[in-house]
Amino acid sequence: MLLILSTGKNMHKLLIDSPGKEMFVLGNEAIARGAIEAGIGVATCYPGTPSSEIPDTFFATYQEGGFYFEYSTNEKVALEVAAGAAISGVRSMCTMKHVGMNVAADSLMTLAYLGVTAGMVIVNADDPSLFSSQNEQDNRYYARLSGLPLLEPTTAQEMKDMAVAAFGLSEQLRLPVILRTTTRLNHLRGVVRFGTIQPIKSKGFFKKDPFHYVAIPAVSRNLHKILIEKNDQALELSENSEHNQIIGEGKWGIVTNGVSMNYVQDAIDDLGIGDKVTILRLGFSYPMPENLIGRFLTGVEKVLVVEELEPLMEHDIRSLAQSKGIGIPINGKGDGLFPRLYEFDPGLVRKTIASYFKVPDTSPKAVDVAGIPDLPGRPPNLCAGCPHRAMYYAIKKVYGPDAIYPSDIGCYTLGLLPPLSMADIVICMGASVGSSCGIAKATDQKVVSFIGDSTFFHAGIPGLINAVHNNHRFTLVILDNGTTAMTGHQPHPGVDTTPMGVDTKQISIESVVRGCGVEHVQVVNPLQVKKSIEAAQASEEFDGISVIVSQEFCPLFARVVKKAKKIRPFYVNQDKCKQRRDCIDLLACPGMYLADGRTMIDENLCIGCTVCAQVCPENAILPLKK
């Protein structure tokens, strides 16, 4: 678990100020270390895979390290907090996953006009292959859209080094800088050599300059001009950046960035074509260094562009070649050599390089797995004793399988899987509430939507106000498990953080809901099955917007922070069990299994939530005697 504050006895490993020390660290830890070396005063975030370990590292170090850190309510707020600090002269870092940038985009676009005085770094974690995301958008577009410089590291060392460098670059240009990673970089581990920790400047001064900082049309017309001038300056810096390199002298050109640089270098070694290849590696990848690219293009005969997701560099380089009158072949995704879908891997890159440059592919052949029997799937599942499962059971019991169940982003999205089948539409953070308004208005179907506690604070509240104000008719279930569970148990505004040694004010979800104007509000413990079913019935009978706050701690989280009560597992009394299997067919708790046709409970997984015992029509599920 990450949420353990470091104590005075042993300094957190990432705070040790011993330049030259080498440590084997996670990519995300390397970024946090870079920020610490750069003397950040303010760090903000909204957690989200694959970025979460950056803020979790800040959370574990900020008190001892002497800087300010917060888990902000959402990415837009996080960006604004960091911007306020950087405009006031304090170095700040704001971290988020790729889709978080969509939430922050409104602020981002105009912050680029305003600029900053102290360094500000926005860490953006893309998720090619959608390991834990609703889409795989390519956020390099955001650099182009906003006009902000873009850095893309390749190794753990560079994640640390570029984080430090990004602050300097930001101050040089007086612009926020985007440090873009992908899942494979965030979650790799490698050796990082530490640098010196610069002193923290934790207090600045907001110097009034309304005709620069108040973005009304008359001001912004001028600010846009300034941004474009800064882009010209950024281009100069990109031309001369150590992060943009031409490597080798061969006639075969390869352009690459980010994690793909590793695959390219390994492929060249594996294929033994080092003397035939020239690599153009773009680490400061926006603005694209036009002269450097021009020099590269004039030295090679053909070019393969190796970049994950969208063909951005490919298009830019092709258009640059056209403007310079260079006619060599430049290929990548447009020609179907590389897919626009999903992440790359070393084998794919090696194979494509081999075929493009017509050298034999040395890749080994995978074993034939034809003889292996079909394997049972192992999808991620709601944990044994998860309170979300209990609430899904109660709602489904009342509303049945035909009601529409909009859901949201969190562990509870896993309710999608049969036999629960409790998610019909998921778009993005907060969309459960807004989409429910439309579905309820446009159909005569019953609508019950689900949103988690952290997600409710993040983006659910405006939708709820909309539902109340415009008289929409549906039930909203707020699944309050007292933590941001999916991303690793970070706190949110509804959490009492005192046990974590942090002084924040806890905000009651029920009060917020009532404050939004909802008149029909029920708070239930989902582990009390009968009461939960009654609450569901009352919501169904109510004509209007009804909210159920389903309150019970995430058991994984409770185990760490709350010193959970002694677990008393349950067992199935085989004399009483008539094999109705409601426990398996309706609840699908992973603590249950079948052995020789008998329903059993794995006492190592059971946490004694008692829900299956309440559901069992034969009262065959009983607590194990000690």
Partner: protein, 196 residues
């Protein structure tokens, strides 16, 4: 140095991420260039957890057919990951099954593991099979399965790291209260691989 691509597969909670990290730290101590990749997030809710350690190259992940060593903490997951292997791969697997919940609700059938392993035995360089759960229990801590598997990797003598380097890393990087059982489990793993 010669590149070694090692893939670890297991189920959430079995601790393969921890031993992958320990192996990486041992590489740093021994001066061997190494990079590790991990899967976090959604995969941890009872799903499959895959990690990799690559020595002597830069890419942190291992493509289909390119593992030099596959370490499976759960036998059906070893079978699922076989597409990572080629005819020169060494496969080390725990034999203790952990059927997924899909089996309980009738969405799948758990395979006959011994039969399936027999099938693949001849298509890879070697297959080392051990009951890691039994050895972990014998070591005094059922959660030390990961140390058994790490021991088996070192005991198979196919990586350029010795027992002492790993034991030192275990001593400095794992919780003191479990140190004794961890080291015992590691030793059992080393011995089991020697026999296998």
């Amino acid at each position: 140095m010669e590149t070694k691509r090692i893939v670890f597969v297991g189920v959430g909670g079995q601790g393969n991420l921890l031993v992958t990290r320990l192996l990486g730290e041992a590489c740093l101590a021994a001066g061997i260039p190494a990079v590790v990749s991990e899967i976090h997030g959604m995969a941890q809710r009872g799903g499959i957890v895959e990690s990799a350690l690559v020595m002597g190259a830069r890419s942190p992940i291992v493509s289909r057919g390119e593992a030099d060593i596959l370490i499976g903490f759960e036998p059906s997951e070893t079978l699922r990951a076989l597409n990572k292997c080629n005819e020169n791969t060494v496969v080390i697997t725990n034999i203790h099954p952990l059927p997924p919940f899909t089996v309980a609700i009738g969405q799948g059938v758990y395979p006959d593991i011994e039969e399936a392993l027999d099938l693949i035995k001849n298509s890879v360089r070697s297959l080392i099979v051990l009951d890691g759960n039994e050895l972990a229990a014998k070591a005094g801590n059922p959660l030390s399965l990961n140390m058994v598997m790490l021991g088996a990797l070192v005991g198979s003598k196919i990586i350029p790291l010795d027992e002492d380097t790993l034991k030192e890393t275990i001593a400095t990087s794992t919780r003191q209260e479990f140190l004794e059982s961890n080291l015992r489990a590691f030793d059992f793993g080393v011995a089991a691989a020697g026999k296998g």
